[in-house]
């Protein structure tokens, strides 16, 4: 992980998210999201391929893949109006309220990056106290 993030840092590219999971084969699948033009993206692909412990690198375009992110949202102590606004917005976005203690709520939300971003913006700092986000996971739609 250090090897990979350093390769980006050195070339002044900001990684938007890093997620790691172990595949059934026992290998780690690392998903990196970053913004770059095609030339730089291809350059970084080659840099990563060259790194000794890396077995393969796949460039996945968002349009050819399913992208998801999970966010956990924790509120401040809400009044009734805020409470209903929170529940409505979360449920409309396909999320679920997990806990409610003294009008402090915790909810989970999954979707693509922009959907989650939109909900967080709409709720705003008056309602939200903390947000924990998973970073993006994605999988290619290709079947071959």
């Amino acid at each position: 992980m250090m090897r990979i993030s350093r390769d980006f840092h050195r070339r002044q590219i900001n990684l938007d998210s890093i997620t790691v999971g172990i595949e059934p084969t026992g290998l780690a699948r690392i998903i990196l999201t970053f913004k770059a033009d095609d030339r730089m993206a291809e350059f970084m692909r080659k840099v990563l391929v060259r790194s000794e412990p890396i077995i393969d690198v796949e460039v996945i375009e968002p349009e050819n893949s399913i992208v998801r992110e999970v966010a956990l949202l924790k509120t401040k102590k809400l009044d009734v109006g805020q409470l209903w606004k929170f529940i409505q917005l979360v449920e409309r976005a396909g999320g679920k309220v997990l806990e409610n203690k003294d009008n402090i709520l915790i909810a989970e939300l999954s979707g693509d990056h922009d959907e989650i971003e939109k909900v967080i913006m709409e709720l705003g700092p008056e309602i939200l106290k903390e947000v924990a986000r998973s970073g993006q996971v994605l999988i290619s739609r290709e079947t071959t």
């Binding site: 350093r6 050195r10 391929v49």
Partner: protein
């Protein structure tokens, strides 16, 4: 079942890799390994006087012989002192395997005495690095380290070896010996080769630009064969010096900031440029927007990251240099030959002759050009020239005619002052039958002159020719040209007396005060049976010219 210690296993694994020589310094965290070395009679350990010297020596060794050089140190300061040498090897793609002791695994992260996080420190400056957590991993880590250093694009590898692993015991199976030349090779794509053949055959004014990749691939013969087949002149990078004999009619000499004018003009005028085993460094290309402006560029390299990194490339070929060149030669031979228009070669030949640099100065103090000429008179085709860094290096690169690969060793990418002397020591250990001469500046030489003790004690008879101008000459040159002669912190004063310095260590030392004294005294130094230092006072006002200013155009050099 026979249990052996990690330290013993390390040497068994090193011997399986064919290691005969190690440069290093012991210390607290690697004493068990040195204890095992006490009983080891098939490995020569050369005790250097600074760990940086050990790293450069391993690097020089690797470049001279084409196999990994090995250096070994203790933890903490011992290991951090390796870093300049390791980065130097990384920048110039040299296979060095560095081993350093480490705190026992249970103490890692506690800021224990002489603990340094070498895994993190070495990470960006090695091709790969390891920490050995358990003795069972040791044999495979050593195998992987050597394999990684030599396969594909060569590079340094570091092994961090905790002390508890050195002393623990296990019944270990050491992998059988392998030969380095079994290294994985990469074949180029057929379609790319076909396109390259077409481009080269149809070129009116082709030029080949060869680099260190040609040397590591062992492709010098193929390079010369292709150049002759095409009638294409060859220029080289600093690392590529010796890939084509520099007295060959098609050799143009080095390209770039301090390259030969003919080479720079040929690249500017060519219509197809074949770059092979090069990385198009900024010191070679200068302003990339004006580099080879009329040319289609074909770039062969084993490392895909290099292709398109610095210059635009019309035809990328990812592959081993030797295999790629063989395929291109076959492709060209299969086509109907049409005679190369001789106008291009005539023009090249004329440029080469008319723009040949002047070396026959008689002034006292000696002009560096003349000093190189005198040194070259004494050396033969098998002599290995090693350089320090700065003006001395660029005079050597510009003026020395190198005839064979691996016979010009210099710090290119990192430009490490202090590299030359320990690297020369490494080259001499690797090739004891060759005369090894270090072309040094007084500033660079002093950065690792403590290795005089090492060469004297170990009878490593290298000769250092000190181009002594009492300045940090290259910085002074930039200050003279670009900073209105405001010479800031570049004067080195009057000390030391290099002859006395040599003698203090028991080495041969003498001074050649006039140009005519250089050749006879160098001969004497080579025959002295001792390591030697020949002090050559040179004109302190002489600049390395021609010079293409950083970011300038190759065909617009500063000449005076």
């Amino acid at each position: 079942m026979v249990e052996i210690t990690g330290s013993k296993a390390l040497f068994e694994a090193l011997k399986a890799e064919g290691v005969r020589d190690i440069f290093g310094i012991p210390g607290g965290a690697i004493i068990p390994v040195y204890d095992a070395l006490y009983d080891e009679h098939n490995i020569r350990h050369i005790l250097t006087r600074h760990e940086q010297g050990a790293a450069h020596a391993a690097d020089g060794y690797a470049r001279a012989i084409g196999k990994p050089g090995v250096c070994m140190t203790t933890s903490g300061p011992g290991a951090t002192n390796l870093t300049t040498g390791i980065l130097n090897a990384y920048m110039d793609s040299s296979p060095v395997v560095a081993i350093s002791g480490q705190m026992p695994t249970q103490m890692l992260g506690t800021d224990a005495f002489q603990e340094a996080d070498m895994l993190s420190i070495m990470l960006p400056i090695t091709k790969h690095n390891f920490i050995v957590h358990r003795i069972e991993e040791l044999p495979i880590v050593v195998r992987l380290a050597f394999k990684t250093s030599m396969t594909g694009r060569p590079g340094p590898v570091h092994i961090d070896l905790p002390k508890n692993v050195q002393v623990s015991k296990a019944d270990l199976k050491i992998p059988a010996a392998i030969k380095y030349d079994k290294a994985v090779k990469m074949d180029p794509g057929e379609e790319e080769i076909r396109k390259a053949v077409n481009m080269l055959v149809n070129a009116e004014q082709p030029v080949i630009y060869a680099g260190g990749g040609v040397i590591w691939s062992g492709a010098s013969a193929e390079l010369v064969a292709l150049a002759e087949l095409l009638g294409a002149p060859v220029t080289t990078s600093l690392m590529g010096k010796g890939t084509i004999p520099e007295d060959h009619p098609l050799s143009l000499g080095m390209l770039g900031m301090h390259g030969r004018i003919a080479a720079n003009l040929a690249v500017t005028e060519c219509d197809v440029l074949l770059g092979v085993g090069v990385r198009f460094s900024d010191r070679a290309t200068s302003d990339v927007r004006h580099f080879a402006p009329r040319a289609k560029i074909i770039h062969i390299d084993i490392d895909p990251v290099e292709i398109g990194k610095n210059v635009r490339v019309d035809l990328p070929i990812v592959g081993d240099a030797k295999r790629s060149l063989i395929s291109i030669i076959k492709g060209i031979r299969a086509q109907v030959q049409r005679g190369r228009t001789s106008a291009w070669l005539q023009k090249i030949s004329k440029m080469r002759d008319e723009l040949a640099p002047r070396m026959d100065y008689d002034e006292v103090p000696t002009k560096p050009q003349r000093a190189i000429k005198e040194i070259m008179r004494v050396l033969n085709d098998d002599s290995i020239i090693v350089t320090e860094v700065g003006q001395c290096q660029m005079w050597a690169a510009h003026f020395c005619q190198v005839k064979k690969p691996r016979h010009f060793i210099s710090s290119g990418g990192l430009g490490t002052m202090g590299f030359g002397f320990p690297a020369a020591m490494g080259a001499k250990v690797a090739c004891p039958q060759c005369d090894v001469v270090n072309i040094a500046g007084d500033g660079s030489f002093l950065m690792n002159s403590q290795e005089l003790a090492t060469v004297v004690e170990n009878k490593i008879n290298v000769v250092s020719c000190i181009f002594n101008n009492r300045y940090l000459g290259m910085v002074k040159q930039w200050q003279d040209i670009f900073y209105q002669k405001r010479r800031s912190a570049v004067s080195l004063g009057k000390v030391p007396d290099f002859v006395k310095l040599a003698e203090a260590y028991g080495a041969w030392g003498d001074r050649a005060a006039r140009p005519s004294e250089i050749a006879p005294k160098l001969r004497e130094a080579l025959k002295s049976g001792k390591p030697a230092v020949l002090d050559i006072p040179i004109d302190p006002d002489e600049h390395v010219l021609p010079m293409v200013p950083s970011g300038g155009k190759l065909d617009e050099p500063i000449l005076t």
